[in-house]
Symmetry: C2
Subunit: 404 residues, 2 copies
């Protein structure tokens, strides 16, 4: 039998599992203190829901679950090989949440401020830092179109990151409607905008020249391309230089609101090049980028049409998701302290029953593991210390490792 | 798009999610205090590992994941319809743990005492109380054949149940080897024993007569059946009446050991009819049954050969698993208190920025949700109270609902 975990999916050692628990419970605590409520949805969704969810490239990465019994036989018999599956693993937490809100709306307070901390699955091509089983930590506000939602989501997410020891990050924000208005004003057709954005989204990887080349290859009007490229040549673009519009004003209010409440603990800036991959975003999009790691550690945006696909009625919605695996990577390498967690000691016993009872006296202060006293005590103590034990007990006396 | 969660898989409302979090974190705390270490494994395993894992009926309930791309095309092209899948969702936490231990052994302390609290998946025929996505809370001890392991697992599991407010339960224990020795002494052949046990396992559902009929239908030697049935006619069977053997002595030590440390908080008894479904158990098997609900709420046993399938070397192992969904059902209906969890209040604001800042003063004591002050205040306050809010703040003053 195969001994390794599947590619892109990790086994976590006890110290890693403890760090993950600590980070998730700290993030959960901050979210709850700030008035968001935890919800839980299944990891499996109907395949049609997933397929129609406008998830962008993620739709190509869905793990599909094989039909069973008669249904499977029927699909094979009828040679319908694109109907071998009727369920799939979720690729994010936004689609399940939209279905959840539609399903449970009568029992929820609106605006609904909620938390999800859970696993999602993507059949990524395995490479360093790309997992196929990954955890996301999301907060969302459903049922309000107020720009206070964006301010609250951004600052509460930032608070969670600060609480787990991350700092030195900046928020980048844009609004897809601004980009759309610009492209329309340059002469692009409404039907071309999604395709232009896909090319534009690559600007940080392929540069302005690369974007221009791709747009020419897609055979858009040369005049439109020229206007767009010459406009982008002036990047970084100050939001105040853009022609006034409702989405610009909305974004200006968000940016100044965040600056007002963040107490200078992080910065926020307009970035016209921020697009984000998901197709379901309809307005504001935002990311948090670690200045230290030059990497996005959280991303989100407004998705006002997704819940409507379930309800047939538009419900405004906006969410922000921490990419937990990047946070975990950063903090693992930093060898983070976990404040407020109990230390672990070993009780090395001659008599099991005496030790089992006495161990309870220490449990208020320590996590206590019982081991039969080993023949080679010194060697075993070294093992304990290397495993992060704080000390050990023999003959009723607690000894601390770093006091040896 | 489909609004309901898939059958056998639940959406959890905030109050339900909070109760699940509270129960899981309490169980985790008790397990950790008692010296077990958390480990995490992926929910997806290689399909061959799952298929060869001797999981009994659960092997028929595996959700299989469809192959992708070239691999899928090849299987379809070659008409190999039993090779459409190469991965599956785990049906329990024991198989993944065995693989984990084999994979990570060099980095683990032996005996390895570990915790898993995680989701498993079974394609059960949907019916009340049978979920297809369910959580289990397991502790296991790997690398020791001492009967102290069973004592520790049983008492620590019982402590966790007591801590979350369950009491009035009893432990039932047996050893598969005792049953095997008995059946051999009655003249059954070694090769027949598994099949006899499958019939015998049904005794609480079909009665002694039903078991006898099934054994006759399976055409075992009538003399053997007669001896077995007449022996069972004397149930409940006292362990001291059985012919002495190593497994009997081992079981007697476990029973008297548990009685010694449990302080009369629960009872433990020998039950010859306890078999349990999994094929991988090799010795002791045990369950905790709620006297109040006449239902098994935890089950476990010794599985000395499973890790060996990965390592080619026998590693003794024993585990105990709380069926979290039953616990959750029982405590939901009981409307359980969650001590030590923060109460939630609403801050109804006229000015967002003032409220956002002031809310932080209350967050040490409360979880604080911000809402724009609604037009119909009375109606909104009723909604808040029905959603479990403890009070609300307007114009800087906290008001408590039950003091209205």
């Amino acid at each position: 039998m195969k001994i390794n975990s599947l590619k892109g999916m990790n086994d976590y050692l006890p110290a890693e599992a403890d760090l993950r628990d600590y980070l998730q419970s700290t993030i959960l605590r901050v979210y709850k203190e700030n008035g968001f409520s935890r919800v839980i949805t299944p990891i499996i969704e109907d395949i049609e829901n997933l397929d129609k969810s406008e998830g962008g490239d993620n739709l190509n990465l869905i793990f599909k679950i094989l039909k069973r019994g008669d249904k499977l036989e029927k699909a094979i018999e009828e040679q319908k090989f694109d109907e071998l599956s009727d369920m799939g693993l979720r690729y994010d937490l936004t689609l399940p949440l939209s279905r959840y809100f539609a399903n449970n709306r009568a029992n929820l307070l609106t605006p609904f401020k909620c938390i999800q901390i859970d696993k999602v699955y993507r059949a990524e091509r395995p490479q360093k830092g790309r997992l196929r089983e990954l955890t996301q930590c999301d907060i969302d506000i459903l049922g309000s179109d107020s720009y206070f939602c964006e301010i609250e989501l951004i600052d509460v997410t930032a608070k969670a990151l600060l609480e787990i020891g991350l700092s030195d990050f900046k928020v980048r924000i844009n609004d897809r409607r601004i980009l759309k208005e610009l492209l329309l004003s340059f002469g692009f057709d409404e039907s071309e905008i999604a395709s232009v954005c896909i090319s534009f989204d690559k600007i940080n990887h392929i540069g302005l020249g690369g974007v221009e080349e791709e747009l020419r290859n897609k055979e858009f009007s040369p005049a439109g391309i020229e206007k767009f490229v010459s406009f982008l040549g002036t990047m970084p673009i100050d939001i105040d230089m853009l022609p006034n519009s409702e989405s610009i004003e909305n974004l200006q209010r968000i940016i100044s609101g965040v600056k007002q409440i963040c107490n200078g603990k992080y910065s926020i800036e307009f970035d016209i090049s921020l697009v984000r991959g998901q197709g379901y975003y309809t307005g504001t999009v935002f990311e948090i980028e670690s200045n230290e790691f030059k990497d996005s550690i959280a991303g989100g945006g407004r998705y006002d049409n997704l819940i409507g696909k379930f309800l047939g009625e538009t419900i405004p919605a906006v969410g922000f998701s921490i990419g937990f695996e990047r946070i975990f990577c950063i903090l693992s390498e930093r060898n983070s302290q976990m404040p407020k967690t109990k230390k672990r000691i070993a009780f090395l016993y001659d008599d099991f029953f005496t030790a089992y009872t006495k161990a309870q006296d220490f449990q208020a202060e320590y996590d206590v593991t019982l081991f039969e006293k080993p023949q080679k005590l010194g060697k075993f103590l070294n093992r304990l210390e290397s495993q992060g034990y704080y000390g050990w007990i023999t003959s009723d006396e607690l000894k601390i490792f770093n006091e040896r």
